[in-house]
Symmetry: C2
Subunit: 182 residues, 2 copies
């Protein structure tokens, strides 16, 4: 490992994360480099499936892309929360669905280049609508139930959110238009 971090410089608290510069020296390359890092909390999302084979999705306006995005329910893990508690809470708050049958599916990093946090993926089976939706004062979310068959056929038309794709690909055989084979 040739990258040695020599110093961190705090830039700004940007609400969803804290931005900082990490000041590196690389002994192989003989260079110094300042890398931007967004220090962000862990997140989690869930592939929640109803008894009649529908995936519980949420659509909301996203300020990065300035458009609506169809995503799995999920959100930030609070400091005092377990991953499972966080994702169960987010599913219930955003959609009103809950269930007893949960499995961990692994994680992907948010963006290894500039962020230090992960998105942990869960599967919840046989979820049911048990609670009213309970949104934050700044959230406008529409719940959409997408049939598994439709998702398998249209996933790349419906979903442009990478962490939603990362979770879905762990449990869903996607209909490949072009395939590579060994």
């Amino acid at each position: 490992m040739s990258w040695i971090k020599r110093k961190e410089t705090f830039i700004k608290d940007l609400k969803l994360f804290k931005a900082r510069w990490d000041h590196y020296h690389n002994s192989n390359l003989g260079i110094d480099l300042d890398a931007i890092v967004l220090d962000a909390p862990e997140t989690a999302n869930v592939v929640a499936v109803t008894k009649d084979n529908k995936i519980v999705m949420v659509s909301q306006y996203r300020f990065g892309t300035q458009n609506f995005s169809l995503e799995l329910p999920g959100g930030i893990v609070e400091p005092d929360e377990s991953l499972l508690n966080a994702v169960q809470r987010e599913l219930q708050e955003e959609t009103g669905f809950s269930g007893e049958n949960w499995a961990y599916l692994g994680f992907a990093y948010s963006n290894p280049v500039i962020m230090n946090n992960r998105c942990h993926h869960y599967l919840a089976r046989e979820v049911e609508k048990t609670h009213p939706v309970k949104l934050d004062s700044t959230e406008e979310i529409t719940v959409e139930l997408i049939d598994i068959k439709q998702m398998r056929n249209e996933i790349f038309d419906l979903v442009v959110h990478p962490h939603t794709l990362s979770a879905l690909m762990r449990v869903l055989s996607v209909d490949l238009k072009i395939a590579i084979h060994d």
Copy 2:
């Protein structure tokens, strides 16, 4: 659409992107909200497959996660470049591989919540090592050829980079440990 953007405030040029606040008013919710946006260039990556069924991957140290990450070759699209030119250039510079047989696989956003850019995915078949690797002065990259069969079985152990997963899932049937069915 109830989110009306009233103003943008530039924060800082952070090298890989420009950070700004977008100041919104929501007429349904009756609230004002400041959203952080990272204004970033478009990116592209490629599933490049050799004649003997190996996927050309790159391993490099990532400053966000402070660890090595196994990823598809790719990078930023320069202002004067087409997507295809950019991804062909990145493949050749980072790995020395090139080929004639290219297909577009679609895109995912980098992160719809905070970023405005996309990662476009390509497939390149029958690539061959034709050139020397030509890295930037700040890049340390190791090329790794991963057999398709191994990737299918071990993808979630090998890869934690969401845009690499988003590209691979478009052309590779992944071995599902847990599956949902319609």
